[in-house]
Symmetry: C2
Subunit: 230 residues, 2 copies
DNA sequence: AACATGGTTCGATCGTAGCCGAACCATTGA
DNA sequence: TCAATGGTTCGGCTACGATCGAACCATGTT
């Protein structure tokens, strides 16, 4: 007697109320924290933690540690497809869940995260830099490593952007930071900080008093886009 | 608090060892009986029966009653796709199950089922007649209804095939009969019987002594194909 | 250094669902 | 009519797994 087909395990994993809720919360592609997911599923953190580690073991989701948070996302597009396929079969007028994140649209658009640019613009910048191969991202063991390519070094040099690489500091040149509102990466590290300073210097943008909002002028955003987003 | 997404139910249904085994046994598109499925899953008939009715309720499989047998098949192509999707995710070198049905290839090719043609040739004939719109199939409530179209009436008339439609007999003119070896429909009813007689008459084929095998001559099969399969 | 917060591990409880034995119904064949 | 075979229903047993409280670890904040 041979052991049955292993679709059983995967399906059983999805076939639990709490886990299914968490998974569908992730289909949008966002990464969510363990506590958010536990709230979403209406269970305690302990229980959620157990579920999440099972889902990880099975390769349905992946985790990225970030400070004292752990962000979970679907492992890949295939899993998303599978879930959508399932929803198709179990089709109904499913009430869509609400989006998390900061309410304030300005905060969502551009803000400081420690000392670097976050929000829509920050994520857009990061994506663009990676896509143009000015930065290189490698994933390893729950964290993402980011490095400047030769092409990137040239690009930043021509703009006069030279991040201070004090050997004393432990701070890395580049770091992928998961964005609070968008839930995708933006650029941190000394390069990230230098780029934000660059925006201030060029008077493209300024920090709004008492908030974390970064306000770009109309012309400033145009220049930001043409210079840094290509 | 609203009730979570309903992918849960479907996934939970697939996420049981016995049910998953039965479902994967059906992905080939064959229809299998309850006992066969129970054997496949290594459970008793009672248990299998319970599982199968659940799968039916959920619309994952469909059932067709045939005499004292009940043949189960996947509900539609979407379900098959879903299962394949799942297997893709849980990919491994899954040992393939063996094919059921008669060992003897001749029996599998062409044989009598009561008084009409069954086996590969029988199924091929039925498919061809339906595809050329000489027969029309409608499905309702666990059974398939088959009727001769106007075009079909003309076709059979021209060949001199006129099934005796004794009004006394309760036997229908046409009936879709689920094929034992192929597990797809072939043609039964008085028309089916008449067609087999027609083959005997034309000396295309003859019944092999003591067996249910129908032996077509080489020329006979050629004629059978050109006359009836078009 | 103390504290708050995010997350995991452990142990115990409790429901649910899979399973089978036994009895029953339905169809077929003699 | 009676036996044989395919399937279903019912009741009770059992086991797996979801859940939570409590204790613990890690990171960041004051």
């Amino acid at each position: 007697m041979f052991d049955g087909p292993n679709i059983t395990g995967i399906a059983a994993l999805i076939g639990d109320h709490a886990r299914a809720t968490m998974l569908t919360a992730l289909v949008s592609g966002e990464a969510l924290t363990a506590t958010e997911l536990s709230a979403e599923a209406g269970i305690t953190k302990q229980t959620a933690s157990g579920h999440l580690s099972k889902l990880c073991d099975a390769g349905l989701i992946e985790v990225e540690a970030q400070g004292r948070h752990r962000y979970f996302r679907l492992a890949d597009q295939d899993v998303a497809r599978l879930l959508e396929n399932l929803m198709g079969i179990a089709e109904r007028t499913g009430a869509r869940r609400v989006r998390p994140g900061p309410k304030d649209p300005e905060l969502r658009r551009a803000r400081v995260c420690y000392d670097h640019l976050a929000g829509d613009l920050g994520v857009e910048l990061f994506d663009s830099l990676v896509q143009r191969k000015l930065l290189k991202v490698t994933r390893a063991e729950e964290t993402s490593e980011v490095a400047v390519t030769a092409k990137g070094k040239k690009f930043f040099g021509e703009l006069g952007i030279e991040p201070a690489t004090a050997p004393s500091s432990r701070r890395p040149l580049c770091k992928a930071c998961l964005d609070w509102s968008v839930r995708r990466h933006h650029l941190a590290g000394t390069l990230g900080a230098t780029l934000l300073d660059y925006c201030y210097e060029k008077k493209w943008a300024s920090r709004e008093q008492g908030t974390r909002i970064i306000k770009f002028t109309a012309a400033g955003e145009r220049n930001f886009r043409s210079s840094l987003l290509g």
